[in-house]
């Protein structure tokens, strides 16, 4: 056990985590350079394209250290985006130490701090690593000062590297061996394995990722999940070496996987403890707090015939993303679909893209919403995230909405605009902290609904990309809400309904109308688009009809060509949603929910 190190790399997004992981893997020689793909741990296309890690992964690196001994270094990768911080937390609980990676030119950012706190909560040994020192804009001195003043870490203990250029990699591996403590635990004690992830393998069922704190587990053992006392028989155990590598047993201190005939990922709860059925442990390991979705939207197939395909895709998708929740929903305008819960807007984007790409579906999303709380005259308290469930306004005595505490770090020059933005977004109880010369940390308590609207994009623009942002949901606060409906030629398009703050309803209604006007093509008749609260029309715009077609010649008997053109147009029209007699393209639905400031 003393030759094992379990560690993680934590960083703000784009600070080079995946590249560093690549170099560490290459250095230990478990894959030859010919077979190497960049960002090897990011094995979903979407992860590689967006340069973000969504699911955590683990890998065992064999390392021959300068002290002459051989070590197994278990690198547990973590996601870098704010939406996925719960995944970071899960990964960290399996480690004894973490490399805190900081970009030499960008310095400490919001998620550097957020991830550091998570690591500290898990009592991890932290090694600051300054990356990208090869960049012309690198300012190592400044970062060292930030490590001291902003992070409160010992400024002398840092390492420098360029993951891209392969500089300083061996020093990092040495530091992992020398400075991160080996795992503790007793291989002879009753089994205690902490589940930190699970993935679905179509051939083997669910593969459970776990860290053993005590005991030993091997093929044939009867194991028990301590949360629900479900018992399974172990079919295979092993470690991660880019791919799964079968081993005889897993012992205290090790990180590996267990396959035990568990059908779906949802049968496994992350943070649960696995023990032996016959010789169980008394108390489970401390688990993780349950992650709750905070952003909700409905997903519909563009063609109603595709509903069954969507159902299958959703089912398959959840096998690998336990944080994604869904239930049946239906819309008058869009037909059968699903109401889904997401961890944040990026999570929503990722789900949408994966459903479209991996399952070849064309889908429409309704406007994202948070979960509001309504207290009714009969004393009932209802949590509602779907505008379709909006209670009768006469029965509402109190409405509340979730608030977050947003932590923003940025160069001082962006501060004025950020304060203005937060004010516009109904921010309260702001605090300001000068962390180092020229840099500020600004916190504000904001309604989550305002943040999922267009906050993040605007924040990034204002701070010219130098600002970083992190948030926690804190509580529910009283608020004045209203249900904004969108009507197309007098017919309500329920999928476009939104729960909004009453004061911003008019502006929101106008923007929705304008967006739709831009996206709905002119049709044979005039289209009126209206925003309404109850019976009151609060915004309105019209799309004039087109009056002239290009009536291509239809002479000489080549009617086939004309027909093919019509068939193509008809097919295009089928991809639009008919609301009354108006065809609305997918892009119109997207435009209303894409909330970037125009």
């Amino acid at each position: 056990m003393k030759n094992i190190r379990n560690f993680s790399v934590i960083a703000h997004i784009d600070h080079g985590k995946s590249t560093l992981a690549d170099r560490l893997i290459q250095h230990t020689g478990i894959i030859d350079n010919r077979n190497f793909k960049d960002q090897i741990l990011d094995n979903m296309d979407i992860e590689r394209e967006r340069g973000i890690t969504i699911k955590s992964q683990a890998i065992a690196l064999p390392y021959h250290a300068r002290d002459g001994k051989d070590y197994i270094l278990n690198l547990i990768d973590t996601p870098g985006h704010v939406d996925f911080s719960y995944e970071v937390s899960r990964s960290l609980s399996s480690c004894e130490g973490a490399l805190l990676l900081i970009d030499a030119s960008q310095g400490v950012q919001a998620q550097t701090v957020a991830n550091l706190y998570l690591a500290m909560e898990n009592d991890l040994k932290i090694i600051p690593v300054i990356n990208k020192i090869d960049l012309p804009s690198a300012d190592v001195e400044r970062v060292v000062r930030q490590i001291d003043s902003e992070l409160g870490l010992e400024p002398s203990g840092y390492l420098k590297c360029s993951a891209k250029e392969g500089i300083g990699i061996e020093d990092i591996l040495e530091a992992v061996v020398q400075r991160i403590p080996p795992p503790k635990g007793d291989p002879a004690a009753p089994l205690a394995a902490l589940i930190f992830d699970a993935q679905y393998d179509p051939f083997r069922g669910t593969v459970i990722y776990c860290r053993l704190f005590d005991g030993t587990v091997k093929k044939g053992d009867a194991i028990r999940f301590m949360s629900n006392n479900a018992v399974y028989k172990v079919e295979e155990v092993g470690i991660f070496s880019l791919f799964r590598k079968k081993s005889e047993k897993l012992s205290a201190g090790e990180v590996g996987y267990i396959i035990a005939g568990v059908k779906t990922v949802s049968d496994v709860s992350n943070g649960d403890t696995i023990t032996h059925d016959k010789k169980p442990r008394d108390v489970p390991l401390p688990g993780f707090k349950e992650v709750k979705p905070v952003v909700f939207a409905s997903i519909y197939p563009i063609a109603s015939d595709d509903y069954d395909d969507l159902s299958v895709a959703m089912e398959k998708y959840t096998l690998n993303d336990a944080s994604f929740t869904y239930q049946k929903d239906s819309s008058v305008a869009l037909g059968q679909g699903y109401r889904c819960g997401f961890l944040g807007l990026l999570h929503l984007d990722v789900v949408q893209e994966r459903l479209e790409r991996e399952y070849d579906l064309s889908i429409i999303l309704s406007v994202p919403s948070v979960r509001y709380r309504f207290t009714l005259t009969d004393g009932r308290v209802m949590d509602i995230d779907n505008p379709a469930d909006y209670p009768d306004p006469a029965s509402i005595i109190k409405t509340e909405e979730p608030y977050i505490r947003a932590a923003m770090m940025m160069p001082e020059r962006g501060l004025g605009s950020v304060i203005k933005l937060c004010k516009e977004k109904r921010g309260v109880n702001s605090t300001l902290n000068y962390t180092s010369p020229g840099r500020v940390e600004f916190t504000s308590e904001l309604p989550l609904a305002e943040v999922i609207y267009d906050f993040y994009d605007r924040f990034k623009t204002i701070t010219q990309g130098y600002g970083s942002f992190d948030y926690d949901v804190i509580d529910y606060r009283e608020s004045i809400l209203a249900l904004l409906d969108i009507l197309v030629n007098g017919e309500k398009v329920d999928a476009l309904s939104q729960i909004v703050h009453r004061d911003g309803a008019r502006a929101r209604g106008l923007m929705s109308c304008e967006r739709l006007k831009e996206e709905i093509p002119r049709q044979m008749f005039k289209i009126a688009i209206q925003g309404a609260i109850g019976r009151e029309i609060i915004s309105r715009t019209t799309i004039p009809p087109f009056r002239k077609d290009v009536t291509a010649k239809c002479y000489g008997g080549d009617i086939t060509r004309k027909r093919k053109l019509l068939e193509k147009q008809k097919k295009g029209k089928k991809r639009m949603k008919m609301v009354g007699s108006v065809s609305i393209p997918q892009s119109a639905f997207l435009a209303v929910l894409k909330t970037g400031h125009s």
Binding site: Q523, M524, F525, P545, F546, R547, K548, D549, V550, T551, A552, K553, C554, Y555, G556, G557, D558, I559, T560, K562, R563, L566, E567, Q569, K570, K573, S581
Partner: protein, 379 residues
């Protein structure tokens, strides 16, 4: 004489794939290698033989192109002789020939009359010198005037003129000059086409490169409505989106066959044929056409059997381009689809918007409806 072709009697189209020069907007097949005319004619005669069993009688013949007026009197005479040898042409058969104004002189025109050509369709396109140059026409406005007047004096009593509007840089005044000039000759038929550019044509390529752009929707609409109004006042029947006749008997019987799914035989490169739900078309290459025929094969490039759904779509599209419109019960009988019931809501809406009218069991586009006939057919 009532001008409705007997429903089941087929039409014959012959494509003469030669031009002295290609016009920049035209996407019909033609070549400028005129020395191949004799070989083409030999192949054409053989192609007629190949259809002697499938078709027997035609009551419309349309010699189009390309530029049929390039052919000599003798060559045209041979074609007509061959047609009459193989097929039956009843009395009153409508025989149309397309002509370029530059090719027309009194002796040629008289010879056409002697061959029983009943309709002369002259490609005028414009009387504006600049527009003619833009369209890359090889004739002048004076030649056009001369051609029309000479055709009259040769005895043609059914003259059609083709005009094009919506040409880049053409303003309303220029178009109305051309239109009123054309009307002043009292032609029995007028085709006023909105310029549309296929991507493969030389003007289409220039347009894609951004050399020019076509007039916007609003101006196109104005061109269309003004044209319709002026010709209506001049006594013409607007019987199809782009076609106007100076009386019911002057509606092109041949074109109506295409719009009614009436059998048609198309001969020559690129020509299309239709019979009993099947459509086939010849190779759009003169050399391939000749080679196939010399090898004893029909020069057919492809054939399709239309599904009922495809026939419905075509019938809807073609019907809604015509003043006559669609007779609900005939449509239901032929295409197994009850438009009035299936599309009740949208038709109601279109009626309210003044785009269609329903009367006596017929669905007809209004003038505003004709302007967006393409979209109407997508209901």
């Amino acid at each position: 004489m009532k001008n409705s072709a007997t429903p089941d009697v087929a039409g014959l189209y012959i494509h003469i794939p030669f031009c002295r020069a290609r016009c920049g907007y035209c996407d019909f097949y033609s070549v400028t290698s005129l020395f191949r005319i004799p070989d083409f004619l030999a192949a054409l005669m053989k192609e007629m033989d190949m259809y002697s069993r499938k078709f027997s009688i035609f009551d419309t013949v349309y010699i189009g192109g390309g530029t049929p007026s390039l052919l000599g009197v003798q060559q045209l005479g041979d074609i007509f002789q061959k047609i009459k040898n193989i097929f039956v042409l009843p009395p009153n058969t409508e025989i149309t020939i397309e002509a370029n104004p530059a090719d027309l002189d009194i002796s040629f025109l008289k010879a056409l009359r002697d061959m029983d050509v009943s309709r002369l369709n002259i490609g005028i396109q414009s009387f504006d010198r600049q527009i003619l140059a833009f369209l890359e026409r090889r004739h002048t406005a004076d030649q056009a005037v001369y051609a029309i007047e000479t055709a009259r004096s040769a005895g043609f009593d059914n003259i059609g003129l083709d005009l094009i509007y919506g040409v880049p840089r053409q303003d309303m005044a220029s178009w109305l000059d051309t239109l009123s000039m054309a009307v002043s000759f009292h032609p029995e038929h007028l085709s006023c086409y909105q310029l549309t550019l296929d991507a493969d044509t030389s003007l289409g390529i220039r347009r894609q490169k951004g050399d020019f752009s076509l007039p916007g929707d609003d101006l196109q609409y104005d061109f269309f409505m003004k044209t319709a109004g002026i010709l209506k006042d001049a006594g013409y029947i607007h019987y199809e989106v782009s076609n106007f006749a100076g009386g019911a008997k002057f509606c092109s019987r041949h074109n109506q066959k295409y719009w009614n799914h009436t059998p048609c035989l198309g001969l020559g490169p690129g020509a299309h044929s239709f019979l009993k739900g099947q459509r086939w078309w010849n190779y759009g290459s003169l050399e391939k056409y000749i080679a196939e025929i010399e090898a004893g094969k029909q020069p057919v490039q492809a054939m399709e059997s239309l599904t009922m759904e495809q026939l419905q779509l075509e019938a809807l599209c073609l019907g809604l381009r015509t003043k006559k419109g669609i007779n609900f019960s005939q449509f239901a009988e032929r295409y197994n689809y009850d438009l009035a019931v299936q599309k009740e809501n949208v038709l109601k809406r279109l009626q309210d918007e003044g785009l269609v009218a329903i009367r006596n069991g017929c669905l007809r586009p209004t003038l505003s409806g004709l302007a967006i006939a393409d979209s109407l057919s997508l209901i």
